[in-house]
Amino acid sequence: MSAPPKPVPLTTVESTETSESGAQTLTLSVGPQHSGSGHMRLIVEVDGDIIVNVAPDPGYVHRGIEKIIELRNIIKSIPVIERPSIIDASNLNHAWVRSIEEIQGVEVPRRGQYLRTLLNEMNRIMSHLYWLSIYGVFLGHTTMFMWPLGDRELFIDLAEKLTGARITYSYLVPGGVRRDLPPGFAEEAVKRTEYFEKRLKEYDRIFFNNPLFTSRAKGIGVLSKEKAIELGCTGPTLRGSGVDADLRKDEPYAAYPELDFEVSTRPDGDSFSRAMVHMDEMRESCKIIRQIVKKIPSGPIRRKAPIVLPRGVAYGRVESARGECSFYLIGEGGDKPYRARYITGSYRNMAAIPAVLLGNRLADMPTAWWSIDYWPVEADR
């Protein structure tokens, strides 16, 4: 019982202050109940309607996952690992099993690697589509809210056929995957990805070429290349600033070394280029899915892996939809890890929020803020 509890402001306007130059600034708290904030709060100081100071206030979904993992064995932790970003569950799951396998020294069969990659890429598309729909509704474009959420169901259906669940798969386990491909999956996947690529062209016509969007996104929320690297940004945020960093190319894992795809970058670093990086990645993911169902090898999908975590250290990382997701895992011989540090893409991109918002107008906040694809649950863990 140290300090007395701070009162929660009842109104959204917290205070008015007068700066040294005589200008009055106003402190607003945006969120957590606000259609433009998600489950976090941004404390924004505005001068007129120019943002002069931003302090993110996360932690509304902090669930103490790092402590929970220390108390559970490595199989029981898999559903917990997925929850921070259930729209991108399999990528986070992959980071976890990858670090476990690194300590255990288990080699995954090639068919298992391909199935993992397949689910990862479908997840990347689903996650980007969810991002796009929220981006649309932030900008007041209701069609762009409905269409991506509708087309996301194409891939949710596919994933449900493969794993048995809509979005929380718990599909990747140490040593391989849980189920094999269902019959007729390949034709359905090819059909749906081809249809989806056509839809992406329609998205371009209705939203990304639309002056209603481009005039609100071009030149807004600029994050320079040097700043993005220095702040430790990752994923589409980093690639939108012109750095061609992608773990799928830089440190190829699973089936990625055998697949042909490109890393998309945009040099400008504004909201528009970050949005276009997402669009390009969805196209590339469609290509990857078609390649996988074409050249998936036959063989076992899973190899027996022990349920204990031997003594050792691993830093396993994968490229999730929001950037690099990594585990710093320390095993001590039992079935539970001694320490599992969990660093996700959104958590790393949180440092970029003040950088992209400063100097913009308050009305541009949703455009700039949501373009870095910040998923508060993933950042809070």
Partner: protein
């Protein structure tokens, strides 16, 4: 993928040449994973050297580990390089140890400004104080959190 550790050996060599007394221990876990343990007083110099001379400009995260049996905290900076394209798969773990009863170390925000949030989290989850940090406050926990730092090993919360 080659299995030799030439790059890692060269990095270790360079670090040992420049800081012969301060590099306490180096360990190559596997290819592209490297651990370097440094004395806490000198970590700022080593970090600045890594950033300026060796190209490690990209902070990946900061972990803190509680070794309560050995009565110490370990703070690990995971850093990588974006400037040097051949080294992008390499993650260097820069480690330092502090005694558990007086956890106070220097902050590295002046070297990599991206580590600000991670150091704040280590402060609230382990109670480690970072000297020179611009905003050492609570990040995720409630404002009136009155419990102990929750991620310490000796803390057990009642479960149902």
């Amino acid at each position: 993928m080659s299995l030799s550790h030439e790059r890692e050996d060269a990095l270790v060599q360079k670090l040992k040449e420049n800081f012969p007394a301060d590099i306490k221990e180096t360990n190559i876990i596997r290819r592209a994973r490297l651990e370097v343990t440094v004395a806490p007083e000198k970590i700022k110099d080593v970090a600045a050297f890594l950033r300026d001379k060796l190209g490690f400009d990209h902070p990946n995260g900061v972990s803190a580990v509680d070794y309560n049996r050995e009565n110490r905290f370990e703070i690990v900076y995971h850093i990588s390089s974006m400037r040097v394209k051949d080294m992008r798969d390499l993650v260097l773990d820069l480690k330092e140890s502090v005694p558990r009863n007086a956890p106070k170390v220097g902050s590295l925000v002046s070297v990599w400004s991206g580590v600000e949030n991670y150091e704040r989290e280590s402060f609230e989850m382990f109670g480690i104080e970072f000297d020179g940090h611009p905003r050492l406050e609570k990040l995720f926990l409630t404002d009136n959190w009155d419990g102990p730092p929750p991620l310490r090993k000796d803390i057990r919360f009642p479960t149902d």
